[in-house]
Symmetry: C2
Subunit: 141 residues, 2 copies
């Protein structure tokens, strides 16, 4: 049991940092098959949404809404998939995935579907920069 939040090694090694929101670390999963974000609440030893305080639960759904609505605009997605699973990595993390009806797994769920296609450093950097600009724009208005 850790007193302080430490990002799970399995998440850190498979993602790129975008920014810290009020509650959660926002990450880009390193799988270019789908625009796939992760929200990881920066609280130690949380595995279920109900482990969070009620204030943090409200903040979490607001961050899910912020990130998923911006991701839909950013990608012109058909549908946003949101999920807290954690069967393999217990640290609480929320998947926010932009699905289009032409993606490799559509309409199936993405987990265990296709082997991850890694981003090139340039493509990941471009995604993070452009998505960050969209977040800045929305949080300023």
């Amino acid at each position: 049991v850790h007193k302080d939040f430490i990002l799970s090694e399995s998440i850190e090694s498979n993602s790129f940092f975008i920014r810290d929101l009020a509650l959660s670390k926002l990450l880009l999963l390193n799988d270019s098959n789908y625009p796939w974000l992760l929200l990881v609440p920066r609280k130690a030893n949380q595995t279920e949404i109900f482990d969070l305080s009620i204030d943090d639960q409200h903040q979490l759904i607001e961050e899910i809404v912020l990130v998923s609505s911006k991701l839909k605009v950013f990608t012109n997605a058909t549908k946003i998939n949101v999920a807290s699973l954690g069967n393999k990595t217990s640290q609480l993390h929320i998947h926010v995935i932009a699905r289009t009806n032409t993606d490799i797994a559509w309409p199936s769920a993405v987990w265990d579907y296709a082997v991850a296609t890694k981003y090139s450093p340039e493509t990941a950097k471009k995604f993070i920069l452009e998505f960050s600009q969209l977040l800045d724009f929305s949080t300023k208005t």
Copy 2:
């Protein structure tokens, strides 16, 4: 576009009614492979969590927390899986699934994994009755 909420036919035909919570219809999915609940906000024409008002977003996560924490106790689950996907059925619905490390799909995600195993009427009735009693107990305290 419907003005009033009508439960999607594909959801209705594959589930049992448990009760109406303040925002959502609580249903038991007819697949005994896993204790699998659905929360369907009773709002017309909603497909994404961000379609809901901020008050309804807060209410939704409170209902997710209520139902998932009680389901964990009820089933002694290893992990609760929570998801809003909707690639096949667009009406906003939240999956709340009790996973155990001995279930048929563990640790994979459940969607498109195994063919649904229907409940017998008696087993479904027993689940609904006992889970309802647990909900009553918690909402009275």
